[in-house]
């Protein structure tokens, strides 16, 4: 009767392990934020690396993408890919030319 759904049920340990990893990474990212004299760019790189790591295990384990079909992979990948396009192209523009003057905002 419930055969169609039982096949998708994963062991509790999958979720427990994911939670422990997430909490460990939370401690790590807060600790990394307090290391003295880290250059600004490096702090951003460390924070973003850990954030991407955390997001990936949430997507894979909690959101079940690891066990999903190719279409779910395509969608999850597309979201990430489009975000990268937006960031890359926006930055390519802003870092490569002077900013337009904005009324009331002295340069």
């Amino acid at each position: 009767m419930a055969g169609h759904s039982e096949s998708h049920v994963h062991p509790v340990s999958l979720y427990t392990r994911t939670l422990w990893w997430l909490l460990a990474l939370l401690v790590l990212t807060v600790a990394a934020g307090y290391i003295p004299n880290v250059p600004n760019w490096l702090g951003v790189v460390i924070a973003l690396t850990i954030a991407v790591w955390k997001a990936t295990i949430v997507i894979m384990n909690f959101m079940h993408v690891r066990f999903s079909g190719k279409l779910a992979w395509l969608f999850a990948g597309a979201g990430f890919f489009w975000l990268l396009i937006m960031l890359a192209f926006a930055f390519a523009d802003y870092v490569s030319r002077p900013w337009e003057p904005f009324h009331g905002w002295p340069e």
Binding site: M1, A2, H4, S5, E6, H8, V9, H10, V12, Y15, T16, T18, L19, L22, L23, L26, T29, V30, A32, G33, Y34, N40, G43, V44, A47, L48, I50, A51, K54, A55, V58, I59, N61, F62, M63, S68, G69, L71, A72, F75, A76, A78, G79, F80, W82, L83, M86, L87, A90, F91, Y94, V95, W99, G104, W105, P106
Partner: protein, 275 residues
């Protein structure tokens, strides 16, 4: 299964086609339950992708302005409470776990367990919002909300105490020098007028309130949906329903994890970097 339910099932079932329209879960436009569930999931993922881009656009503009006014933004960063941010991250990560367990219970048709895990998720979400309430309250109290009475006074005060800002006078005009104190010596990186400093820190708090506010709105919407699911699961439990559609819980779970992921990025980018 009661006699009535079996009768109902028998009348609804397409005779001999081997499909499970009978349990009231499968819509008639779908061939199999698997096909229906996949259609649900893809729809939900399409929504999630647009949410990623929606938040992504705000993250992009935040990144661009932080890149341009990195010193001003860094000093404004210091006004945020890392303790509150960490606590809220912990609460949201935990709520993602309880949500995943609720989905698991739903897949097993364990309605009571599902209702309990959903309720825990709801409580954790409430705790998140409560923390936000206190956090926002403190910002309003210190005039850091970018509204009519915004003032960078607190930012200037704390930056001066930490030796990262110095007030200098030149030709009777006041300037702020932003920099660092090393071995008792102030090294200036940039000089700004008090008005510029006020506008740029105000911009930071604008981003802070927009980003955390929109995220908080998503948490509130999630809480409403979760409350409805708790009611449904509890009714299924009371009625001893042998089988219920788990997809609403699974899809709400996907939404809830997305809300968690947005916070996973908001937390370090607003609270941690530049410390």
């Amino acid at each position: 299964m009661s006699v009535q339910e079996i009768e109902k099932t028998a009348t609804l079932e397409h005779t001999g086609d081997g499909h499970h329209h009978g349990d009231g879960i499968l819509g008639e436009q779908f061939e199999t339950l698997e096909q229906q569930n996949n259609a649900y999931l893809i729809g939900m993922w399409a929504f999630i992708v647009q949410e990623v881009l929606f938040f992504g656009a705000i993250f992009t503009s935040y990144a661009i302005y932080r890149y341009k006014y990195v010193l001003e933004f860094t000093l404004a960063h210091h006004e945020l409470n890392v303790w509150f941010g960490s606590l809220n991250t912990f609460v949201l990560l935990l709520s993602s776990y309880t949500m995943a367990r609720a989905v698991r219970a739903a897949m097993q048709n364990r309605h009571k367990k599902q209702a309990i895990y959903l309720f825990l998720t709801f409580l954790l979400a409430g705790e998140f919002m409560l923390n936000k309430y206190f956090e926002y309250g403190a910002k309003f109290e210190h005039h850091l909300f970018p509204g009519g009475d915004y003032s960078a006074h607190e930012v200037v005060k704390h930056a001066k105490e930490k030796g990262e800002l110095r007030i200098v006078e030149e030709n009777g005009r006041e300037f702020y020098e932003l920099g660092k104190t090393r071995d008792g010596q102030f090294i200036a990186f940039k000089r700004v007028t008090p008005e510029e400093f006020e506008q740029r820190t105000r911009l930071f708090f604008g981003f802070y309130f927009i980003m955390t506010g929109l995220h908080g709105l998503h948490v509130l919407v999630g809480m409403i949906v979760i409350a409805i699911l708790i009611g449904r699961a509890w009714i299924d439990h009371l009625k001893n329903k042998p089988i219920a559609d788990y997809m609403p819980v699974e899809m709400t779970g996907l939404y809830w994890h997305l809300v968690d992921i947005v916070w996973i990025f908001l937390f370090p980018l607003l609270y941690l970097i530049g410390r």
